[in-house]
Symmetry: C2
Subunit: 382 residues, 2 copies
């Protein structure tokens, strides 16, 4: 008997892969001669193709944003909280598309894919990709799907940066941009954390300068450390206190270097689990895309000028306890938009969960997100 | 011709080593049969021995707190900013003592010292030491130096925790306790950062379960990562912005994994330099001492009760941009003291330098610190 999925889930979903045979010029100057993008869709595209929403994913997630990939699947997609019937990204109204970014490790062309010239994995030879490159590749996917204009492009964290870039690079191809828990560029501290994560991976003797596939190994320790460190920046100090406090695993100190506090156990578990599901070269690429994202750079650091041509209406959402991309960073985006007389709504959600709040079922967040998406007109292009 | 040192420096200093042949019982239940403490002193002990100040050091520093160890020494001790003639810890008035903590790697007995039973370095067999253990060992040093009562015990960060512990464990052996940029215990986030640092070291293949000395190597990569990570937590986001911004080393992006931003260059340099001057096993021990510090634990988490017997007057100093041990954490100490009707002064210094501010010549900090120490009576024990 078929498994019953929750009523508010899109249920069983299958990914599809789109091949692109036209070369893609990248910001770095490199060129991908051809590439694949793997993606999922939820809901139905309407007759006028006016109800499509693009979801952009963050550092370590992928195209599987909602639903279940098999009847036995235990875990739904990474944004199940926000995508589905009656949810903020309501699949009764919208046709939702989410693709794995170029450079990824879940089916889109990336470091694990065969290099066209050698047939062996790209590994470290996969070119550095930027947020702009991703947006360009996603625009081609929109073409392939017959979507001339997105009702909205939506993303959290690095995904929010893509939603912002979309509005700059293709101003007439989206009506709304929803930028959640993001920043207009990384701070020196953000870059510093990324650098430690990269050094952890690259200094792992099993990394072999990125050619670890050929050695039939993975830089397990380095990737684990990178993930542990990432996790600290995803959670607020308060959230950690609420979740772990200073609880000792065995009630009293054991005066050794095995796991002693609950938080250590959690981080080690998260780190180990990540190693089995993510590629180290992809992790490096994603952190570089974050570092390089800086749309105001070509406009003398004036974000308002960088956003001068956007036509989309914006919704910007930040979380009070997010210290990775604090509300101040979101307000920079809001201010730049307002300075340019653009339409923007801003919500600062009181939440103790830190950066990860954008993935969580926080009522005020879900409500304000839904209130905005409910206003998105899907009957006609405006 | 002899080098001229600055007038406000204690100048050329030499360390001494005190041997203790009486066993030291540790909190862990282990016992050190005998041990050495290396220390430096600055200024002159007065006739009544009432002008002695103990300086307690933080995670990665040592007994060389002020002055120069040789005529060619380029760098003075780690707290040169605060110790010397006319400085907050005025060597014209005070006799200043600073010892390297047990478990250290700069001359006190630690993992690099020979195990009494085998003659080879303790390595991972060196017992876990706690802040209480350090205080107990420092009290024996005071005995050896003929100091019955310190005019003050002073420290920043982990050193501040020792100053707090001193007042609890030997209430009649210090008149003042100066606790700077500290916390009454680590948060889950603090522990999490320590855990990533430890995992970086312990997962380095060159660590050899702590027996790397025998393999004639050091866990260079792991220790470097630990230090890089530590550095991020020592600086504020603002300080990093002021120091590095998002400056590209070569002006424009190179789209590679070599150093790209100034902050990356700085962190790699700091990490590499640290490896040559610090022992990995000591680093592990110091982070554990931080994790375990929790004086309220035996008093149902009631810090005020833990501090019930203190007699010292307290000065607590915090820095606004310190996010490792934020001012809130210092205020917990102040509140607990006030709740117990203890004497305490509190200064919250506006400074953008983050946790490292306690090492820096910030005028408001130096002034408030001097104002307090100027009031310390050295003419008679009170």
């Amino acid at each position: 008997m078929a498994r019953e999925f929750p009523d508010d889930s899109v249920g069983l979903v299958k990914s599809r892969t789109q091949h692109f045979s036209e070369p893609l010029e990248l910001d770095s100057g490199a060129c991908l001669p051809h590439y694949d993008l793997i993606y999922e869709t939820y809901g139905e595209l309407n007759a006028t193709h006016s109800n499509a929403i693009l979801i952009c994913h963050a550092l370590s997630s992928d195209h599987h944003a909602a639903g279940y990939n098999s009847p036995d699947d235990r875990k739904p997609g990474w944004w199940e909280v926000c995508i589905g019937p009656g949810k903020p990204i309501d699949t009764n109204r919208f046709f939702v598309v989410c693709s794995n970014n170029l450079g990824g490790c879940k089916g889109s062309t990336g470091p694990m894919s065969p290099h066209p010239e050698t047939g062996t994995p790209y590994g470290p030879d996969f070119p550095i990709v930027t947020v702009r490159d991703w947006v360009r590749s996603q625009a081609r996917l929109a073409d392939a799907l017959g979507i001339q204009q997105w009702a909205a492009v939506i993303g959290g964290s690095l995904g929010g940066m893509q939603a912002l870039q979309w509005a700059m690079d293709f101003p007439d191809r989206l009506r709304h941009s929803v930028v959640i828990a993001a920043a207009p560029r990384l701070s020196a501290q953000n870059i510093a954390f990324n650098e430690v994560a990269r050094q952890a991976i690259m200094s792992d003797p099993e990394f072999f300068n990125g050619r670890f596939y050929e050695h039939d190994t993975i830089p397990r320790r380095g990737l684990m450390l990178a993930r542990m460190l990432g996790h600290i920046t995803y959670l607020s100090d308060d959230a950690m206190r609420a979740k772990f406090g200073r609880e000792l695993r065995e009630g009293k100190p054991r005066f050794g270097f095995d796991v002693e506090f609950e938080v250590e156990s959690y981080l080690r578990y998260q780190g180990k689990a990540f190693v089995d599901r993510f590629d180290a070269n992809t992790y490096l690429l994603m952190t570089k895309a974050l570092d390089y994202f800086d749309p105001a750079k070509d406009f003398e650091d004036d974000l308002s000028r960088a956003l001068a041509n956007v036509q989309a209406r914006f919704m910007v959402i930040a979380f009070t306890s997010d210290w990775r991309f604090a509300p101040d960073r979101s307000r920079e985006i809001v201010k730049a938009l307002l300075d340019g007389d653009k339409e923007v709504s801003y919500a600062e959600v009181v939440a103790h969960q830190g950066h990860d709040a954008f993935l969580m079922p926080i009522p005020n967040y879900i409500n304000v997100f839904s209130a905005y998406t409910n206003l998105i007109n899907v009957d006609a292009e405006t």
